[in-house]
Symmetry: C2
Subunit: 340 residues, 2 copies
DNA sequence: ACCTTACCAGAAAGCGCTTTCTGAAAGCGC
DNA sequence: GCGCTTTCAGAAAGCGCTTTCTGGTAAGGT
């Protein structure tokens, strides 16, 4: 099942067989058909490793690194990447880091070893000096050797092409919309502060409120998961002092947990308390009440990031940034505050 | 950044450098540390392709083929696969076929070319003679060449190791539970009949009802998606004749769409009509009412299928089947029929 | 002191391809 | 008909590794 076998079967040299199969150079018609027939007969499949090794020509795989495939946010983006990749006959190597920085770096290294054509990093980077340096040390040689890198929502310190959701502006706009509904007392359910996405959304929300002269209110931190949101909401309700009339969870996934916690505590949404999230993952539309959020076009973001990576490298070494606007979508989970 | 460069830097032969780095054979301590140091200094990363080519030793990637990553069912299984793969330092190549049989075969072929250590097929096969033959033609040479294949919920015609959810038994048990609630008038929202999963669940549900002397009722077909479920439910409601008191959607994803359709039509769940799904994808717990369903341990199924593939090939050439029981979970979406 | 083992570094042969490079045959103008 | 370019098949040189095989040196046995 090697090229040599095919060549022998067809009675030509391996060189000719290679050319006939790949169409690199003109080959006499009769020889070409003979080679093709022999390949079919033998069920020949070229060894991609040998091909990658012999031809400087990059191979047909791109690496995709995300925090967790089972998180709908990443799944949505990954889906867009795959669709675009399929169109170009590229294989996607998808890795979940389970939010461990070291594993992320290990994956980049494996992808480098595979000579992946491009490496896509999805999801916030870690705001950690040592980690950033290590990541840079992996990525720089890769890029210098002709590798492509593109990311979505990363730290700017990584000087690579970026698809950047407008977290800050989106959160600010959401805040204004919530204020417009009449809310004055807020609380925020936030994730790990070392994730840039969290920092940006928090800052944006604060800004939006500040424009109306309102403070951020209580900020409760939780894990970046449904359970994190659930726990954070419980802690919020348990805290003493007046309750906010509106809660913002920095991601929809957390908001889903929060909604459950509110319901369990007998707090009606939106009658007693309004709740909003961020991302617009598919499921939040199905909740009752459906969740207000800032919608991000996840699939499109996936398509954009792979397109960015595959595009001819910019002559100027400057990294490109594609900004993605979030759209505030007010649904049933937000309403005017009680007694207004 | 080649091994040769490292060897030269360390003042040893490439052979020694290789051995020092991989620990294949004993190498004098001072040489080994010198080689390691040189590798670090140069930022050496072995070329995985060259390694794969030189050593018959299989490489460190496994292929995972599913219909759609953004479907929570597949995402859940994929997540389990990734966790297990990460523990063994394996890279997962994940491909979405978007339910196109031809694309599935193309991916298997690419994975073969990559000499993936194992190929995992997730999700129903297509009941189509030509397709089955083509798939067999890809898989057989792969297995004969030492490749491993494992699948979850496939057609039995594929003679490979299988993780098999007990679709039939689970659906039957669900039917009995629903009958026990008092229901006598049913309807089923079903997916493409060429998917074996659909066929099995449908058959199981029919069996369960038959045990109580009840017929299946109206069967409405839709796509295997939320929209498919939505549309099927609308068509069901639009049909003339008496309405069923209980609807079974063959997957949770379809049930989610159905729930939305029922709500839109002003049908209260479960007061006017009960609704149940299958799979227990994470989101259905969050709905109101939370969906009754047959729970499948998705992550575990992912772990099992990769373990199956990686296990030493059975001496007997028989393919192994791991059966996964579904557990009927009755939640708020099902209740006694109206007026009982 | 001599010969056998044991150990370990280096030389060299591939792994399965692609891609120059080489050269034979054919096509062209004069 | 002769020298020219053009076309295209085959020989051969790698791509970057691993792994036998070979051989030199040190240790051990008699």
């Amino acid at each position: 099942m090697t090229l040599d076998a095919v060549a022998r079967e067809a009675g030509v040299s391996p060189a000719t067989a290679s050319r006939a199969l790949n169409g690199t150079t003109r080959v006499r018609d009769d020889l070409r058909t003979r080679v093709r027939a022999a390949a079919d007969l033998l069920g020949y499949i070229p060894n991609a490793h040998a091909q990658a090794l012999a031809s400087a020509e990059g191979n047909r795989t791109v690496g995709l690194i995300c925090h967790d495939v089972s998180d709908p946010y990443f799944a949505g983006i990954a889906s867009g990447v795959m669709r675009a990749a399929a169109e170009q006959d590229l294989l996607v190597m998808l890795a979940s880091t389970f939010r461990e920085p070291s594993r992320e770096i290990a994956y980049v290294s494996m992808l480098r070893a595979q000579r992946a054509r491009a490496i896509l990093l999805i999801g916030s980077g870690f705001q950690d000096r040592a980690w950033e340096r290590a990541m840079d040390a992996e990525l720089n040689p890769y890029v210098r050797a002709g590798g492509r890198v593109a990311v979505v929502s990363r730290h700017r310190s990584l000087r690579v092409d970026t698809v950047q959701p407008e977290n800050r502006a989106g959160a600010a706009e959401l805040a204004r919309a919530l204020v417009a509904l009449g809310h004055r007392e807020f609380a925020v359910l936030t994730g790990p502060p070392e994730l840039t996405t969290v920092a940006d959304r928090l800052a944006g929300f604060r800004e939006g409120l500040a424009g109306a002269g309102i403070g951020l209110g209580r900020v409760v931190r939780g894990a970046f998961t449904r359970e994190g949101g659930h726990l954070a909401a419980r802690r919020l309700l348990a805290a003493e002092g007046p309750r906010p009339t509106c809660v913002f969870a920095v991601t929809d996934v957390m908001a889903v947990g929060a909604l459950a916690a509110l319901r369990e505590a007998g707090v009606r949404v939106p009658e007693d308390m309004s709740l909003a999230g961020f991302d617009d993952i598919p499921l939040v539309r199905e909740l009752s009440p459906p969740l207000s959020t800032v919608a991000l076009p996840l699939t499109e973001m996936g398509e954009r990031v792979i397109a960015l990576a595959l595009r001819a490298p910019s002559a100027a070494a400057r990294s490109r940034v594609v900004r993605i606007d979030g759209e505030v979508v007010l649904r049933g989970s937000t309403a005017a505050p009680p007694g207004s």
